[in-house]
């Protein structure tokens, strides 16, 4: 029997606002436990929530970028359950009026466009963090994360493979990074993902019984867990069994999913309208104002880079994957209209620098002016391509401009004929057998002589000039 896999994803993203969703505490990661807290986010008796307006605006922004309808009626609800990291015994969330609904995200996978439906996106507060300390035989609670603004984005069951899910997550992450509403860093927990997975016989339109996968700590884990789960479900069905609706935990080390709770154990969250926050209505003007602030989204940018600069699919994809790189590319093209050359420098040596240094482009302090000066120096033969990469490293290290680095390090190519001829004579003297080979018709051996000469000149010779001079010298010999 052939099966079709059906996947829907629920993604939680922490919004990167200055302060928390319902109080003035700093919204930050990695501080001393229980330092970014106040009576409100600690849920102390008598404290009350006040909505952070920026959270709402970020939610609208995300909704618009995901092609959603925005609910103009802004309302919050209480989701009631007990856990030590939830100090009020309920989470303030949105139940029947999510900030955004009915949208889609365009995902490109294997060069093919696919629309993944967005069911809804709603705003809510994050819980704290439990730290289990065996030495104390106790669990500790860090409330710093409590009240961090979250947006939960629920997709339609539109994905058909683990790769689809991976591509969707990649596109979603990139889109939200472009909006600058979330860091989308799974390692820091600012992006978390649960997957709903089911299978059905190919051709069947009804959905099969789904399981929910939790504890997916990386995009790779999402992919592996779905692949494992699909196989598990197929094994069950093929052996005549039935899939049980349940929540499963992914065990990264063992590479298996294990039961967390069954459908019967599912919570009754007793949602009801949050009486401490008065519902209100957004005006179309308020929503339009957010729409005006939307940046060009990654997929649109990629298409434009291809059309405007003649970049290919791959190069444009590499550039838009980091908004800063794409912006840097365009800034450079304004100064020097050699699009492909600029693209090669950025997707090659520049990205190598950011990767090796584990730094963002901005942290390199590399201006478009410096970048273009460097490319020009290579193009006009002042330095070789190889030396150009060293100059880039030095420019980043020292912050100096390109010309000073070349001058101070004496990296300019030597094009002076007499200096080069002297070296060529030396090389020819040392390699009489090579000259014989060339005379015997092996023209490619010339390259060896050029290399030897370049070595003697510590790479500073102008390779074209060197080549010409050797050719001429050999002809005259």
């Amino acid at each position: 029997m052939e099966f079709e896999t059906v996947i829907g994803l629920e993604v939680h993203l922490q919004l990167n606002t200055q302060t928390k969703i319902f109080c003035g505490c700093r919204n930050a990661f990695g501080n001393e436990p229980n330092t970014n807290v106040c009576p409100v986010c600690l849920g102390l008796p008598g404290s009350l929530p006040v909505l952070n307006r920026q959270v709402l605006l970020n939610g609208i922004k995300a909704g618009l970028a995901l092609n959603c309808e925005i609910n103009t009626f802004v309302k919050f609800d209480r989701k009631n359950y007990y856990y030590p990291d939830l100090p009020k015994g309920y989470q303030i969330s949105q139940y029947d009026f999510p900030i955004a609904k009915k949208g889609f995200l365009t995902v490109v996978s294997d060069g093919k466009e696919k629309r993944i439906g967005i069911t809804r996106a709603h705003l809510e507060e994050d819980a704290g963090k439990l730290i289990h300390d065996d030495s104390l035989n106790a669990s500790l609670v860090d409330y710093n994360r409590t009240g961090t603004p979250l947006i939960e984005i629920v997709s339609e069951p539109d994905m058909r493979s683990a790769q689809d899910a991976y591509d969707y997550l990649t596109a979603l992450k990139l889109t939200l990074q472009y909006l600058d509403v979330s860091d989308c860093d799974m390692e820091k927990g600012s992006l978390r993902c649960d997957a709903n997975v089911s299978i059905r016989p190919k051709g069947e339109t009804k959905l099969g019984t789904k399981t929910e996968l939790k504890n997916l700590n990386s995009f790779k884990a999402v992919k592996s867990a779905i692949e494992y789960e699909v196989e598990r479900q197929q094994r069950i069905v093929l052996s005549g069994g039935k899939i049980v609706q349940e929540t499963l935990l992914w065990d990264e080390n063992k590479g298996v999913t294990i039961t967390m709770r069954s459908k019967e154990e599912a919570h009754d969250y007793r949602y009801f309208p949050e009486p401490d926050l008065v519902p209100f209505t957004l005006t179309p003007a308020e929503i339009d104002a957010v729409r005006q602030e939307l940046p060009e989204l990654p997929y649109v940018k990629q298409k434009r880079l291809q059309a405007e600069y003649g970049l290919n699919e791959y190069d444009s994809f590499v550039l838009i994957n980091d908004r800063a790189m794409a912006d840097f590319f365009e800034a450079c093209t304004k100064l020097y209209p050699e699009f492909k050359k600029i693209c090669n420098w950025i997707t090659g040596p520049v990205m190598k620098e950011t990767n090796e240094r584990k730094m963002a482009l901005a942290e390199l302090h590399l201006s478009p002016e410096k970048m273009v000066a460097l490319i020009r120096s290579v193009e006009d033969g002042t330095i070789s391509n190889l030396v150009g990469k060293d100059v880039l490293t030095a420019v980043i290290d020292t912050g100096k401009d390109v010309a000073s680095v070349i001058r101070e390090k004496g990296l300019a190519q030597i094009s002076d004929d007499s200096a080069l001829e002297k070296i060529i004579e030396e090389v020819l003297k040392e390699n009489p057998q090579v000259i014989d080979q060339i005379k015997a018709g092996k023209g490619s051996a010339t390259g060896f002589l050029v290399g030897q000469a370049m070595k003697k000149m510590q790479g500073k010779a102008n390779p074209k000039k060197l080549n010409d001079l050797i050719q001429r010298r050999l002809q005259n010999a």
Binding site: P45, P49, V50, N80, G89, Y90, V141, D268, F272, D276
Partner: protein, 475 residues
């Protein structure tokens, strides 16, 4: 005359004339509070020393034990909050402190304000200063009794379904529930968040207006508080009800009302009529559903509001008496089992039930719809009249123990006060006589939202025409 028999405005006059000092007043009240607390039990904890004051109104004020005072114990009349000291002042406490008030916390109350008799307090029942065998009403029984007994000059209570007005009625003092949103709820330990308001309990209407001046106003920390100017409420203290239209709702004059209460309220209406008010009968047709709606909405909100008392962060934590390793759920269960009293458990269960999947539409959602109808009843009524007058409670103070085993009978004690909370409108109770046993009777006045001025004007006009507010309980 003793200080403890005097109103705030009388004491301020003495201060102004230089006849006494705020220290003398404070120390006199501290002594009085100690001496009579054995009889009233109005204070859960007696204040140790009065803090100094240099403000404009340097008078001792009692605070119900569900309003947070920085670093002071706050129990809500419950065992579950044992040892809890909030690290912040409630919005109203800040305002009181700013005015120079000498804040005395720890006034007894029904556990988490669940009750109409102050018998559900974990710290023993409060006794009515007029007759110690009787309840002071509730849930702000400590606040009402402390004012009536002269243990404080005036006090703050909280009113979710009548918890300021009904005890004011039972103890012969003035109690006002402001419009929902007029006074900040920040720092009031929540019971029914969409119903709760903090209100003053005072010896007369003038004091009531003065204390409302202090506590009213927008607080950006409370999203439900309303940002609109606060008038000087003492300016509304005008003895003039000429051609003011007074509505008398026929649904509030039902069978089962104690005859003495009925007579006192009828007499009060005549007083207003004789002063020139136009009295007309009106109808609030959905009144009969108010108690049912209230016990769904208030308990639903309460069940969620009280979820935070789980033994994790503060207050009581009880681990089960078992040798084996304790599961998290065992800590929750044992803590809440030992920490909450019967009435709190009853309301948490009720509220949890009405919000449960499958029951939500039939109970909570329907109750919200009826709540809207009740609100509309008042809107229609206030198109025809400026104020509504009725009894505060169907009876005078009942005996301690009389209704504690019969929750439904107890709930009906708030039948006339609940609608104002559901509609969010202001209402005041003030003394309008005594029954044969010399127990006070309360007159309730209601006006439209944010019209506390008319409310106080009618109350003041009635009060000035009658002697009831001059009577003091003998202790």
């Amino acid at each position: 005359m003793n200080f403890f028999d005097q109103t705030a405005h009388e004491l301020l006059a003495l201060l102004k004339e230089g006849k006494t000092t705020s220290e003398a007043i404070a120390s006199s009240f501290m002594t009085r509070a100690k001496v009579v607390n054995a009889k009233t039990n109005a204070f859960i904890r007696l204040p140790e020393a009065a803090p100094d004051s240099c403000g404009v109104i340097p008078l001792p004020i009692g605070i119900k034990d569900n309003i947070c005072i920085k670093n002071a114990l706050t129990t809500c009349g419950s065992r579950i909050l044992v040892g809890f000291r909030p690290p912040y002042d409630a919005g109203v406490v800040e305002k009181v402190k700013d005015s120079g008030g000498i804040v005395l916390g720890g006034l007894n109350m029904d556990e988490f304000a669940f009750g109409s008799s102050t018998e559900t307090s974990a710290y023993g029942p409060v006794r009515n200063p007029w007759d110690q065998a009787h309840v002071p009403g509730g849930s702000s029984g400590g606040s009402a009794a402390s004012v009536a007994a002269g243990q404080v000059v005036w006090a703050l209570g909280s009113d979710t379904g009548g918890s300021v007005r009904q005890p004011a009625s039972f103890c012969g003092v003035v109690g006002l529930k402001p419009t929902y949103g007029r006074v900040s709820r920040y720092g009031l330990v929540a019971f029914g968040s969409s119903l709760d308001q903090i209100g003053p309990l005072t010896k007369d209407v003038t004091d009531c207006a003065m204390l409302l001046n202090i506590i009213a106003g927008f607080d950006r920390r409370d999203s439900t508080s309303v940002d609109r100017p606060v008038p000087d409420y003492t300016k509304a203290l005008v003895r003039d009800v000429k051609s003011l239209r007074i509505g008398v709702p026929r649904e509030y004059f039902i069978e089962g009302i104690q005859p003495a209460v009925l007579k006192a309220v009828r007499d009060a209406i005549d007083v207003l009529k004789n002063a020139g008010a136009v009295v007309k009968e009106i109808s609030l047709p959905h009144t009969q559903y108010a108690v049912a709606v209230y016990y769904i909405v208030a308990t639903a909100e309460a069940s969620s509001n009280l979820a935070r008392f789980d033994g994790v962060q503060y207050g009581l934590r009880v681990l089960p008496d078992k040798a084996r390793k304790t599961a998290l759920v065992d800590m929750y269960e044992t803590t809440r089992q030992k920490g909450f009293g019967d009435e709190a458990k009853r309301r948490i269960m009720l509220g949890t039930y009405v919000l449960s999947s499958g029951y939500y539409d039939a109970y909570y959602l329907r109750a919200q719809k009826v709540r809207t109808l009740i609100k509309q009843d008042f809107e229609k009524a206030f198109a025809q009249c400026d104020a509504i007058v009725c009894p505060t409670s169907p009876t005078t103070a009942f005996r301690i123990g009389e209704k504690i085993a019969d929750p439904l009978a107890m709930y009906l004690s708030d039948i006339f006060t609940i609608p104002a909370n559901l509609a969010g409108i202001p209402a005041v109770s003030l003394p309008c006589g005594f029954d044969a046993q010399k127990l006070p009777i309360g007159l309730q006045i209601m006006t439209k939202a944010f019209d506390e001025e008319t409310l106080l004007r009618v109350a003041f006009s009635y009060e000035q025409a009658t002697p009831w507010h001059l009577e003091r309980a003998k202790l």
